[in-house]
Symmetry: C2
Subunit: 298 residues, 2 copies
């Protein structure tokens, strides 16, 4: 397969390949938007739309209590999986106050069973406290704390072995994109996950170009679509067509209430991993509900 | 000052220098042992005896609830500061159920203000949830996670700036002791702390020879005393006589209910940082109460 070269930064990339799989979804849940019949326009994957909120190292007991009440009051489309990831020390508070409609994730976990690892939290402990998910390989763990691909891949294997679902993060640095290495970097990171994952049912891939995280510089929908499609192709080639078609590939990096609808229209963007905007309940709900921009009235 | 060479491992080291400072303490608190007048035999420092419990990456909601009830029921001498350090995700549970007699610590913290640091917990957040202490520079963070002296020193500065008290850990690897480098290693680690600490009031130094942690190979009382005395001398030379005489220097590394009394008799051992034994309430209480072995009936 000829090596695919990602488009250069900001310049407009080649148009994404045409792909049309439509699934009819109707929105129906106690707290869902009015139930006009709608048809999902384009979603390459067959997985449900997925939005995760990564609160990172933000929040206090008080601000989190307010955020939880906003989330509990939000009206969410029924056909979107919603997960939030509080800092470790607030998970107990969130688990005991947040609606079950929204699942809870940790932002990291230890690589194996617990024990003499001062400062670490094991996957068993996260399950014990009621976490369903964990974010692994976030670029801040990679480039600030120094976790490498192999370490992250092993974490994924162990988390999944303890029935913790994984948001597996990948993404290139600006200099890597500018050097035309986006796909090389993402595929290398994907390989480290794939070497350690046998069952992808509980895995969501989060493509987060590092240059778009917390910078206000969001990838264009075309740029994100291009990488998502390439990652899906990579899965098809290196894992299986089935996994490629079912795994959710979500985008992260300066996603907000204003830009989510355009991004969501892209067929290989199955949702979002949201940073700063996930700390504002109404904005986060808007991003969750951007699944509607993938739908047209039947 | 001639470079001090630590005694070789296990072989019996030279006898510790004579030092006699006695302070009369009587045990008197609602839950303290019978109050026969007793006199503190030998404590080089003037600080209160201090025992910390580092639960590391151990425990579940259930086991921790049992441990907390054991600790709540324990009879503790009045003249010992007692602190326990649960894993991050259980701190909320422990804070809301543990007696105020025992303070709560985290096992690690981030190096600065919170923000886009996925997986990390800031000092502000630890204070927000009710932590009074944090363990920094534990050998597992140094040698398993890879934190270096400078990183740890900066963490200490920031934690103290947010009114979080610090258990500052130092200690040599086996190969370093066998190469006669115990003091070099400990003094280098101390310097990284001292470069970042201006007020030592809320600092406790924990000497934990790495070769004694979780190995069952406890340092002999003489070996520990020798390093504690050397560290106190280092403080006298490099910080101040006042800090040297007031700061608590505690020992950690395979401390248990059986060996704590002998260790506690040593004048420069001001208490303990306890690993595995801190997960058993009665044993931990025994170690807390080993302050009595520093006392004789007046």
């Amino acid at each position: 397969m000829a090596a695919r070269r990602p488009s250069p930064p900001p310049a407009s990339p080649p148009p994404p390949r045409p792909r049309s799989t439509t699934t009819t979804r109707t929105t129906s849940s106690a707290s869902a938007a009015p139930a006009a019949a709608q048809r999902l326009v384009a979603m390459a994957g067959s997985g449900k739309f997925f939005v995760g909120g990564n609160w990172k190292c933000n929040g206090t007991k008080e601000s989190i209590s307010k955020l939880v009440s906003d989330l509990n009051a939000a009206t969410l489309e029924s056909d979107v999986d919603v997960v939030v990831a509080p800092p470790f020390i607030y998970i107990d508070q969130v688990k005991s106050s947040l609606t079950d409609r929204i699942e809870v994730s940790a932002q990291n976990t230890w690589i194996g069973k617990g024990g003499a690892f001062t400062g670490e939290i094991s996957a068993e402990q996260l399950v014990d406290i009621g976490c369903q998910w964990v974010i692994l390989g976030h670029s801040e763990r990679r480039h600030v704390i120094g976790e490498d691909d192999e370490f992250i891949g092993k974490k994924a294997a162990y988390a999944l072995s303890q029935n913790l679902k994984v948001m597996a993060c990948i993404g290139e640095l600006l200099e890597e994109r500018e050097a035309g290495k986006t796909f090389d970097v993402c595929f290398k990171q994907m390989k480290a996950f794939a070497d350690n994952i046998t069952d992808w049912t509980n895995v969501v891939i989060a493509y987060e170009p590092v240059w778009a995280i917390g910078t206000g510089k969001v990838a264009s929908p075309e740029q994100a679509q291009e990488v998502h499609a390439a990652v899906r192709d990579w899965l098809k080639t290196n894992v299986s067509a089935d996994v490629a078609s079912t795994v959710r590939i979500i985008y992260g990096g300066s996603v907000n209430a204003a830009n989510c609808a355009e991004l969501a229209k892209k067929e290989d963007i199955d949702g979002f991993l949201v940073g700063g905007a996930s700390l504002k309940g109404p904005d986060f709900a808007t991003i969750c509900n951007s699944v509607t921009s993938k739908k047209v009235t039947a």
